[in-house]
Symmetry: C2
Subunit: 119 residues, 2 copies
Amino acid sequence: MVVIDYKDTRPIYEQVVERFKTLILKGGLLPDEQMPSVRNLAMELSINPNTIQKAYAELERQGFIYTIKGRGNFVAGTEKLLSEKKKSCMEKILELVGEAMEYGITREEIIFSLQQMEG
Amino acid sequence: MVVIDYKDTRPIYEQVVERFKTLILKGGLLPDEQMPSVRNLAMELSINPNTIQKAYAELERQGFIYTIKGRGNFVAGTEKLLSEKKKSCMEKILELVGEAMEYGITREEIIFSLQQMEG
DNA sequence: TAAGTGTACTAATATAAATAATACACTTAA
DNA sequence: TTAAGTGTATTATTTATATTAGTACACTTA
């Protein structure tokens, strides 16, 4: 399910994060399905449990999984995941727009540019 | 003109960058005015010239100064600086909006949110 | 051509990130 | 209630990266 590429310069925990993000987005893991336990996966990959723990913490931060202490980690529902992504993306946009307005860009200019975008 | 605070945990070059950004934005240094030479300022602060070099490279990257090889570093015109800031800010916004649309947020939703913003 | 300027390359050092070792705390089922 | 599963927290060690320094080079002008 997960493999570590030691020729890859990226840290192990990052490879693990990416692998699971892909699996979850592509439907290889279904909502509420249990993730491999921290210890099991660590043993399988012959690495320290804390490295998996770090990967899972990151996946949780990004909304891909949720944790129940003492029970395990589970795949988050796709709707919830999507709505979190939308929310944080929208927040970033509004923050940047605020900054842009400090530089003298008007709301109208921004809206005009959006309407010119392809897509 | 510049002081290093060794109690400050930030790197020296970063303190130098910030100091000059403030000076330029507040008008303490005027457009096309010559910056202290890399060697002079380094000697004055008793640090290595490369540290100042790094600070100046960063200031140039951010559009605050421009360099003429063999002659020196000079303060960038405020209009140019502002237009660079605007440009990069606008680019970031459009990039994020593209990402948002991948998540299913519509252009209209974004425009609506902008219009709701205070300011 | 000399004395000023910035630049590039390498090495040393300091700082931060990644990983591991270990002990703790929660949950469930026998 | 306890054993075996789960995640968590703390600390130490290792590794990678960022910062700074040493030094030599190249451009500009008077």
